[in-house]
Symmetry: C2
C-alpha cells in the first residue's frame, strides 16, 4: 500500500489540517502552505470541507475492500481471519499516519460527508464483529461481550497512527503483533 | 467520582472546546457562551491556553493517585490489580466524557503545559506496564509484548469517552467488562 501521490493543494492541506485540526484551519492557511491562490483552491474543491473530504477520500479509499479481502484470505478459520483483518486495519496507516490521524475530525463535517466516511468505519466494525461472533459460536473464542470487545479492538487499532512514527518494515511487525493481541483479547486459545 | 462543579467560564469553555477543538476556539467564542466579558476571562485565566489547562486540570486531577490506589486495592494479585486499574481509568470518564475527550488536544499546548499533562498519561502507562510485567514474570499472563500490549490497552480505554454516552450505572458495567477484556488481552488464564 504505497503512499498515494497528493496534489500540491492536498499536501499543503494535510500539513495545515494535521497541525491545526479541521476547525482551526482556514482556506488561507492552505493557500499559503500549498503556494496556490485561493481562487484555484475554490475552483478545484469548492470550500474547506471539500478539501478535507478529498484528503479523507485518499485515506479511506479501498479500506473496506481490503478488510474484506483480508478476511477471505483467512479462509474458514476465524482466528486467521481476525488476525488478518486487524493487520489490514493497521497496514492502512502506511498510506501516511498523518492522513489517518485526520479521521477524528470527521465529526465536524456536514451530515452527508460524515455519513459517507462513517459508513466505512461501521462496515469494518461489522466485518470484525461477524468474525468474533463466528469464532465464539464455534467455541474458539471465549469472549463474553463480542460487541464491546470488537469496539475495543477497533479503538486500539485506530489509535496507532497517533503515536506510531517509525519506518514501514518495523510497522509490519507492529501490525502482526496487534493481530496477536486481538486474538488474546477475544480469548482465543490455540489449544482450546 | 462526581462531576466537578465548573465555573461559568469553564462550562462555556467546555462547550466551545468540545465543539470546535482547541485550535478552532477563540476567547470570543468562550466569552459569548459563558456570558462573561473578555477582560474577565483574561483576568482569571490569562489566555485561551490558560482556560484550556484549567479544564484539563479538572479532568486529570487525582487520576494518577486513583490509579495507584486501585492497584493497591488489588493486593498481591496482578490479575486483580490489572482489572482494577483498567476500571479506574474508565471510571474517570464519569467526571464527564466531554471533558476527557478534550485530551487529544493536549498536543497543541506549549511545552511546559504539554509535559505536565503527558506526565499523567506516562505515569498511568508505567503503572499498567509494571503490572503486566509482574503478571508475566509469575507466569500468570502469557502476553508476548508487554510494552505494545500496555499501549493498546491504554488506547482502547482512552477511546471510550469519544463514543460512550449512556448513564453512569451502565457505565460501571462497561468499566468492569473492559477489565475483563484487558485480562484476556494479556493472556491471563484463570486456570493457568
Amino acid at each position: 500500500m504505497a503512499q498515494p501521490e497528493l496534489s500540491p493543494i492536498l499536501r499543503g492541506a494535510l500539513d495545515a489540517f494535521y497541525e491545526k485540526g479541521f476547525r482551526g484551519t482556514t482556506v488561507r492557511d492552505i493557500s499559503q502552505r500549498a503556494g496556490v491562490a485561493m481562487p484555484t483552491l475554490y475552483y478545484y474543491h469548492g470550500n474547506k470541507e471539500g478539501i478535507f473530504t478529498a484528503l479523507l477520500e485518499c485515506a479511506t479509499k479501498d479500506f473496506l475492500a481490503r478488510a474484506y479481502a483480508a478476511r477471505d484470505e483467512g479462509g474458514d478459520k476465524p482466528e486467521v481471519r481476525l488476525a488478518y483483518v486487524v493487520e489490514s486495519i493497521l497496514l492502512r496507516t502506511l498510506i501516511g499516519p498523518r492522513m489517518v490521524a485526520l479521521e477524528p475530525d470527521i465529526r465536524y463535517l456536514s451530515a452527508p460527508n460524515r455519513d459517507r466516511f462513517e459508513r466505512v468505519r461501521t462496515g469494518v466494525e461489522r466485518l470484525l464483529l461477524g468474525i468474533v461472533r463466528e469464532g465464539r459460536r464455534r467455541g474458539l473464542f471465549t469472549v463474553s461481550d463480542p460487541v464491546l470487545t470488537t469496539r475495543a479492538l477497533l479503538d486500539m487499532c485506530d489509535a496507532v497512527p497517533s503515536w506510531y512514527v517509525e519506518c514501514p518494515p518495523k510497522y509490519h511487525a507492529v501490525a502482526q503483533k496487534y493481530g496477536a493481541i486481538a486474538l488474546n483479547a477475544v480469548g482465543y486459545r490455540a489449544d482450546g
